[in-house]
Symmetry: C2
């Protein structure tokens, strides 16, 4: 069978299976999730053996150590996948929730009812655990899913997908509820992105290149996040000790993630005190600073910032630093360079905080808290399938509710429109 | 200036203006809306004179009478635009609504706050009133908007847009909050669809060709509806008099709209009684029927339905009719041919109704009510900017709330992530 015929066939089957999983009870979905977790535990040795095939092939191909690290399924990856599934079992089922109900003047009773999105297409790169994390959340929200993992994780993903398929069948759901594209060809992605009759949403996870490719080529709506260029603004009226703790945590705790700070903005009135204070802490933590001329007056060891530093997502122990003359200059800088992910202000002035919250146009705006709190778990959504930096459908972390839609249900007694 | 430079410049200006209108008070936005309404009334003669230029040009180009009809601004079009604006003034402002708030174990206070989408791009065809209806709703929801109307309505749209621009400036908002693309070139649309850095969502309104073009070429998320292939299923346990009224209303009241019935499904057990009953009424109303062989046993005057009739959106006094053996056969037919718009069941059996509501995968599912109720006004959303038949962001009529997003606002007291 050609790649096209295979992928179109899978999409068609997924749409059929979506009707079954949409109608599944919470209990049935939870049994599937628990069963997947059990199988991953029982088969962990075999899964890791399949994973080693991928690792060997990756080494032969000269793939970078960082990528091999992401590819590797350790004992801790296994526990994290299993624990994640058990957490999703414990989350409330969003499907069927009646979010409003109202009797209209015409006499009809109008309700809005939460429903699954339908079929979700997931395209991701090296980490095989995404196979389990994504399938678990999509399934709990009543969706069918088509997974397209990275070709370098082919054996690992197949072993994990087999746990899902077996769990589905043993619990009375069609195995087509979760399908992994069984081929490495890139052509499969192109075909997948055109199946708008069968697939309701695409969620790409990976580097900016992948996400831009999906956006440019998809006929299906895409939920995406390009990058996290997060700012912390330290106001003239900030508590500087709190500001230091927040800035350090935002930059240093996990510099490789999208909710880490990439640019620090400091009000000129506190620059002379705050920059030496936080600068020493950054220096100790091994952070390279790229400063504006004003910053370098107080931190002469900082490198000179160039225009390319302001929109940069370093994902590393590097930080751009700029002194600004007002909260509005900070907001203008953010408006020009932010990615819509997370912005934070440190201030004791409530009016300034409110102004910043109103104007900063990102999925999460923090007042006196670390940017690292922009995370599904921390914000109360439970697990997340990704963070959206575009405003349509979801803005910020996407949990179970974001994997659903709502339909109108109308009960009448023979009403017709006048 | 080239088309590209003009359109990119407009998009950039729209993004800047979006910050201003997002921060505008409800009162300020309402004053703008009322002022637009006043100006349309005062300038109605001049607007209609501009409209006549478009009509004359359309006649010269040999454009169809139906299209000229859509293009014409009558006195009643004027009152309807003015009335629509005054209705939007009366609707509650969605911006700033706090939809949830929660203290998390970490000590941070997490709220979700409703915000404008930002910049909305609207591409539409002949009806010039869309210029006012769309701008009014987008503006009330705090958005900036770029309008690209049909080239055949160029003079009419420009006259209407001038009312908006003047009202914005007289009420302290930048005129770039609502911009009309000032050129007829099709190239402008291509450029617009690539401005993902400045535009948050595209809403195309018009024929299926336009919408498919926008979907295929946009880098910006699209809110769309292709077509309405709405079904009514008359169950074995239906009240046949109510069924007759509902079917007639669904088909005949306004056959040219997307929530009109296009296919009638009748349970075999009532076909012998119901089809002659409703058939006579349809015949009287001038409806052409396209029936399956079983239908034609009871209605020999019906034409023979062919495969192309089942997915057809006639938008006319034509109806496809099929006899089915069960509610599940009806649901399978709907799953195969529906457009995600509206489905209805007529039944007195509550369990059958619930099953149909659960399984029919459309934006509105009606029990014992006309398909014509799938409308923003009838369902309680106030005015609508369109009906979405894809599940992302909005499914069904899109009112003010659907023209917004939500962001997370976090208040802390120096919290950092552990």
């Amino acid at each position: 069978m050609t790649v096209e015929a295979t992928v179109v066939g899978m999409a068609r089957q997924a749409k059929k299976a979506a009707r079954k999983v949409a109608a599944a009870t919470t209990d049935q979905k939870n049994r599937v999730l628990s069963s997947i977790a059990d199988k991953i535990e029982i088969r962990s040795v075999a899964i890791q053996a399949e994973n080693r095939k991928d690792i060997e092939r990756a080494r032969e191909m000269g793939i970078s150590p960082a990528m091999i690290d992401r590819l590797t399924i350790t004992d801790s990856t296994i526990s994290s996948m299993v624990g994640g599934l058990r957490d999703v079992v414990a989350l409330p089922d969003p499907v069927g929730e009646i979010t409003s109900t109202e009797k209209r003047p015409s006499g009809i009773q109008v309700s809005r009812v939460r429903i699954p999105l339908g079929v979700i297409g997931m395209i991701y790169e090296s980490r095989p655990n995404v196979t389990i994390d994504a399938a678990g959340l999509c399934l709990k929200a009543g969706n069918a899913i088509i997974l397209r993992g990275g070709s370098e994780a082919f054996h690992s993903n197949s072993a994990l997908a087999a746990c899902i398929t077996d769990a589905l069948e043993q619990n009375g759901l069609p195995k087509e509820v979760v399908q992994l594209i069984p081929m490495r060809d890139r052509e499969a992605v192109n075909v997948l992105l055109k199946q708008e009759d069968f697939i309701d949403v695409m969620i790409p996870r990976g580097g900016e290149g992948l996400i831009r490719f999906v956006t440019a080529n998809s006929l299906i709506p895409v939920l995406k996040h390009y990058k996290g260029v997060c700012h912390v603004y330290v106001d003239a009226e900030a508590d500087l000790e709190k500001a230091k703790a927040i800035c350090l945590n935002s930059k240093v705790q996990r510099p490789g993630v999208c909710n880490a700070m990439e640019t620090l903005l400091v009000h000129k009135d506190v620059a002379a005190t705050y920059l030496p204070l936080v600068g020493a802490a950054f220096q100790e933590a091994g952070v390279t600073l790229k400063g504006c001329p004003e910053t370098r007056k107080y931190l002469p060891w900082a490198e000179e910032a160039v225009e390319a530093d302001w929109p940069a997502e370093y994902l590393d122990l590097i930080l751009a630093v700029k002194v600004v003359t007002s909260v509005d200059e900070a907001l203008d800088h953010i408006a020009a360079y932010h990615s819509g992910h997370t912005e934070a202000i440190v201030t004791t002035n409530e009016a300034t905080a409110r102004h910043f919250v109103q104007e900063a146009d990102s999925s999460a705006v923090m007042v006196n808290a670390s940017t690292r709190f922009n995370d599904g778990g921390e914000l109360g959504l439970g697990a997340e399938i990704g963070i959206s930096t575009s405003k349509l459908h979801a803005f910020g972390p996407m949990g179970l509710e974001e994997l659903t839609s709502r339909k109108f249900v109308v009960y009448g007694d023979g009403q017709v429109r006048q």
